[in-house]
Assembly symmetry: C2
Homo-oligomer: 377 residues x 2
């Protein structure tokens, strides 16, 4: 019996806000047997992330910065890739067998044929939910060993770049907070999109580090979650603030030492205006600029100079050397209940477009995942 | 006989481009004898710097960032302070005597009564012109020992801040280039306002470090100077470029690794667009934003993230620990002719307003100084 693989593709380039009608569900017969070193994976959980929009654009500086390969043309055979967890249904690799649960770079589809050279990590999911491996505990999947060994090599650079945008939120939060922000106990930390996949983890790391933590989000439900379940010291709904500068002055009467930026634009300007001398901004994401190329943060350079502020863009792929430390510490925090992995799960490959579009409407609370298949059966 | 002290003050707050008519020359009798620990200095060379405009504004974030003391009200008894070199004409301090040449924080006047607690450094000007001590070889003058010892103290912080903006161009260039930009041999360095006091030194340090160096400036004369006398690899007149992004793409076909920013605004955006992965921007000045609060750089955050760019504001006061290293290396370069200190000298206290206003018109070539008195007599 021929197995059918349902997948989601974008019908045309997507340059502004995405909408459900930009996508279509299609089917293709599943390759019946894996080629040499190929693995056929039944996808279970897919990570849905804002950066994927940049892949669909006619032009994005992310396409050309190192390689053109991060652009995906509409209707292309290549899927929108997505970090995820799946189950091996057929393997041409000696080290993997049917039934193994693996994490790696999969795609917006029910089954992914994982090509030779692409790393799949076996997941030992006994004590934590397997969805965590598409989320907080995710690892880099693509050419991990090569990245580790040949980080200076130009060809590998291109691959790093491909991998880059699929960085799992856990390592992104960990490396961004500890290495880029270099927190000290008692410092005042502000996080935008704080109930999102990365922000919610950064806030929890910051609390565990003895910082004072305020987050912003886009609904009362999210604000309550930040102050309640996640233990933030305070939180606010940015949509209710006409003047972001004044709002931050109210929440940080002693100024901001660290700003973990997931949104860019006016919030970044307001944060810089409220920063303390030697303040640090980790530029992790700019979701409010992804959908609107005209929207740009223009922080006051006089502030940046006089307050000796550092703004630093980063990608978690540069922090593979921290992965073991991150993974051990974070698994331990999760097991002991000192940290919570917020997951917002939709069900079925059909729900991918809505899940993705919802990211830009702020629908998700925590990490957005789509469960496209069941472990059993 | 009563000695008269001529000085220049601003008649009102200066919020846009300054013009000569914003200033007036006035006179006041010179205090006949110094009080205890006071020193009366006959000013010889005054350093004229763009940041002084921020002191005259009705509002600038530089006023409130740490202390309000950096704002100087119109007509106030307090002069616009200026780093400079002078000759002691009367001393209430044991360690200084009449005839000593000193460097320190002086003012827009012929004579400055230097108050207790303000450091004056004796200048041993045997082998280099004394003007260099108001310029490339200047040192911090205000409470230097206190700054060194008590850097964490809040009260001292305010003083650091006062001192801050009077950082001598040499240490600014040295610390900004070596510590903030962390250059590697062969890297591609772009410098704006490259014929200015700091830019001209950064370019020379960069060449000495084996970098490829391109500068921009605002006239053919300056461009020729950069390529000729200062040994830049290339240079261009930004006023002749309709599209700064394309211009930088032409001058840096392999991309920019380091951008030493003295101007902000559109040039910063264009530089970020042309940067290589792991590029560094030292935000040293933003002269094009000083005169126009509406003018703001809005660099593309997607570039900053994907290319892992660091933008860092800095002030040379944070680099006092590098002063000895800087001073020894730079004096040696100057003596051996491996570096040139560009000086643009006007004569007479009356020329201060034109000298200052000219900074914003790009009149100066190299460090702008006013010779307000003669060493002899």
């Amino acid at each position: 019996m021929e197995v059918v693989n349902k997948y989601v593709s974008h019908k045309h380039h997507v340059d502004g806000y995405p909408s459900e009608s930009d996508f279509e569900l299609a089917t293709t017969p599943l390759q019946p047997a894996p080629g040499s070193d190929e693995v056929i994976v039944k996808n279970l959980f897919l990570s849905i992330d804002p950066y994927q929009l940049n892949r669909m654009k006619r032009y994005s500086s992310s396409h050309t910065a190192i390689t053109a390969a991060s652009k995906i043309e509409p209707g292309q055979a290549r899927r929108i890739d997505a970090y995820g967890v799946g189950k091996v249904v057929a393997s041409g690799r000696a080290e993997l067998e049917e039934g193994d649960v693996v994490a790696g770079l999969l795609g917006w589809e029910q089954y992914t044929v994982v090509r030779p050279g692409t790393v799949l990590m076996k997941v030992d999911a006994k004590d934590l939910p397997i969805s965590y491996y598409a989320n907080v505990l995710g690892e880099y999947s693509l050419h991990l060993h090569q990245i580790k060994e040949h980080k200076k090599d130009a060809q590998i650079d291109a691959m790093i770049f491909l991998t880059t945008a699929t960085g799992p939120s856990g390592l992104t939060a960990f490396a961004g907070f500890y290495d880029v922000c270099k927190p000290k106990k008692g410092e005042k930390v502000f996080i935008s999109a704080a109930s999102g996949s990365v922000g919610s983890l950064v806030g929890q790391y910051a609390k565990l580090s003895g910082c004072y933590v305020v987050g912003c989000a886009g609904s009362k439900q999210k604000v309550d979650l930040l102050k309640g379940k996640l233990g933030f010291d305070d939180a606010f709904n940015y949509k209710e603030e006409a003047d972001l500068k004044s709002a931050l002055r109210r929440y940080f009467p002693e100024g901001i030492d660290i700003y973990f930026d997931n949104v860019g634009a006016a919030m970044l300007e307001a944060a810089v205006a409220n920063m303390n001398p030697f303040g640090r901004v980790a530029v992790c994401g700019a979701i409010s600029e992804y959908t609107n190329a005209g929207e740009r943060a223009a922080p006051d350079l006089i502030d940046i100079i006089y307050k000796r502020i550092t703004l630093r863009g980063f990608l978690s792929v540069d922090y593979l050397h921290l992965h073991e430390q991150f993974s051990a510490a974070t698994s331990d925090h999760l097991r002991r209940g000192r940290m919570i992995a917020l997951e917002d799960v939709s069900v079925g490959i059909e729900s991918v477009p809505t899940a993705f579009v919802g990211l830009f409407r702020g629908d998700n609370v925590g990490k957005k995942l789509v469960r496209v298949g069941e472990l059993e059966g």
